[in-house]
């Protein structure tokens, strides 16, 4: 018996059983207690509430929503809002992080200092404070009547108004695809082996590809424009209110900015670490072959740095995705806030929180799975000797 307890495998298995068992006991106890409490309050448990109408409104939704809609529809909207905020926030944070991270690795002393200051400041202030700060800044912008104006943009306390094309949503989606193609095409043309032209001489083809895709986007927009209205709809003051253009609500703008700036400071460190991990030897080899600094960056430093960055970046993305729950601090109806409102209005605490946790698990596990696949696909083959 004693010798069995000294066996490492047996020990690990016992620990696992103890661990899982204690968690299961806690969960079971929680459910039993909750059921008793709910019964005492006269609330029936179960998921029937999903099909009842909510009776309250949302301040931000990408899909049509009214107070008559059922809870399940609101949850869906919440998930879409969270994903939308996450996508915008993570994209902006990645852009900010790349710029700051590159500044931190640059040979220019001032750029390095600015980058370091940025990281030191924004990484060390809690996200919730930054959210409140940006919310205060945005809600203290002038009223629509005294809005800051420039290039057709209007900054007001009621939100950011930007010019927006007056086109059908189908045309808008098609044009977006064309713009994505305009970015992806030169990258593909630069790497594919289907062209016999040497990689260094593809500038012309790449430029033509981009131009063609952009032209497509323009044609789609013009063709898809709504009748009897100007192509671009500029926001303008009418009476006491602003009409036209696209309004970005202050709550969304606040969160997108806060996540971009806070997340950017973390991503900057990841970018810096990634570039530091690239061996000096590979860079020297590329230089000794006569490759110029830009080519060395694009063909050697960036691809190697990306591989070093990606696993940590995936963690950071999952983390920032969870940070979208800050929406509740300023009243943005993300998934978390909708769940909170649901609990308030319906009393279905356990069910709603269960849905919340399941939703975030699915979102974040999918994100992690996607990154794992990319990681595996681009992982360096064989043993890597660190020189």
């Amino acid at each position: 018996m004693v010798s069995l307890l000294r066996n490492q495998k047996v020990r690990n298995a016992l620990l696992q059983i103890l661990y899982v068992g204690s968690i299961a006991a806690m969960v079971l106890a929680g459910i039993v207690i909750a059921r008793q409490n709910l019964a005492a309050q006269g609330i029936t448990s179960g998921f029937d509430f999903l099909f009842k109408s909510t009776g309250w409104d949302l301040n931000f939704s990408l899909l049509p929503a009214t107070a008559n809609d059922p809870y399940w529809w609101y949850f869906l909207i919440g998930i879409i809002n969270t994903l939308f905020l996450g996508t915008v926030g993570l994209t902006l944070a990645t852009i900010v992080g790349t710029i700051v991270g590159l500044a931190r690795t640059s040979s220019n002393e001032l750029a390095r200092l600015l980058g370091r200051t940025y990281v030191d400041i924004f990484r060390n202030i809690p996200l919730i404070l930054q959210v409140f700060f940006w919310y205060a800044v945005i809600t203290h912008l002038p009223t629509p009547r005294a809005a800051h104006e420039g290039w057709g943009f209007l900054l007001t306390s009621r939100g950011l108004y930007i010019p927006f094309p007056n086109v059908s949503s189908a045309a808008l989606a098609a044009a977006t695809l064309a713009v994505i193609a305009a970015i992806a095409l030169p990258i593909w043309l630069g790497r594919t082996s289907r062209l016999s032209l040497p990689v260094g001489q593809r500038g012309g083809i790449q430029l033509a590809g981009t131009a063609a895709a952009l032209a497509c986007a323009a044609i789609i927009l013009v063709a898809g424009r709504l009748a009897d209205s100007p192509l671009l709809d500029f926001p303008a003051l009418q009476g006491l209110n602003l009409r036209g253009g696209l309004r970005i609500p202050p709550e969304f703008a606040t969160l997108a900015i806060a996540i971009a700036i806070y997340g950017g400071s973390y991503i900057a460190e990841i970018v810096r670490g990634g570039f530091k991990a690239v061996g000096k030897g590979q860079v020297e080899a590329a230089l000794s072959l006569g490759l110029g600094p830009w080519r060395v960056f694009m063909l050697v430093r960036l691809p190697l740095a990306l591989r070093a960055m990606l696993p940590i970046l995936a963690n950071q993305y999952v983390w920032l995705m969870k940070a979208t729950t800050m929406g509740i601090a300023v009243g943005f109806t993300d998934f978390f806030m909708i769940v909170a409102l649901t609990i308030n209005h319906s009393g279905q605490t356990i069910e709603a929180i269960g849905i919340l946790m399941a939703g975030f698990l699915v979102i974040n596990l999918s994100l992690a799975a996607i990154f794992n696949r990319i990681n595996k696909a681009i992982a360096l083959k064989g043993n890597q000797l660190r020189a």
């Binding site: 040497p198 061996g279 080899a285 590329a286 490759l291 050697v300 083959k381 064989g382 000797l385 020189a387």
Partner: protein
Amino acid sequence: MISGNSPRSSGPAVLIENLDKYYGTFQALRKVSLSVDRGERIVVCGPSGSGKSTMIRCINRLEQHNGGRITVLGTELNDDVGNIDGIRREVGMVFQHFNLFPHMTVLENCMLAPMIVRKVPRADAEATARRYLEKVRIPEQAMKYPGQLSGGQQQRVAIARALCMQPEIMLFDEPTSALDPEMIAEVLDVIVTLASEGMTMICVTHEMGFARRVADRVIFMDGGEIVEQAPPDEFFTSSRNERTRQFLSQVLGH
């Protein structure tokens, strides 16, 4: 501009005059002068920290010198980016730790620079790459990644990669020091073949047998200076310099 100085212009392949190099306040090279003729094979040796790497890295501007002149194939190495690019095109380098691009196959490693720098069409670049991989005796590894090869194989890929640019001059910085003994010979054999075909080369190495076999001249460096240079016979048997003899007794194990 490099254009006026075609690789075929006359004069030495590499001319180093009174070269000084500082790292901060530390002087790594002191008034080093060396002339290497076309087709000449130079072996550089000397104790650790004597400035061997620094000297050959100055020749293709991986290090920037602080005093004196370096002229490669008639082009002076100065701040002119055109000169630097032109010289790097004609000077291949092989490193102690191979420094292959780990995210590219062996073939891609060999094709990259010719296609981008020399603007060689893909098919030609591939043909050249395969020819040189044959020459370093690993044609069957073309589609593998560097991490999947042994050290000796990686170093031979590195040599092939440099050769694919069809350089006039090859620099080797301790090409076999990171290799296990049984792999040293396979790499040295490749370099010996190259030498026998008339490639101009400067090779930093402690392989004295190799030096005896291929070198036209052996350079001994110590404390950032060239202390002695002589043909191998003379260098190994009748050097009268105290520092040289001390060094030789160490590496030859007497």
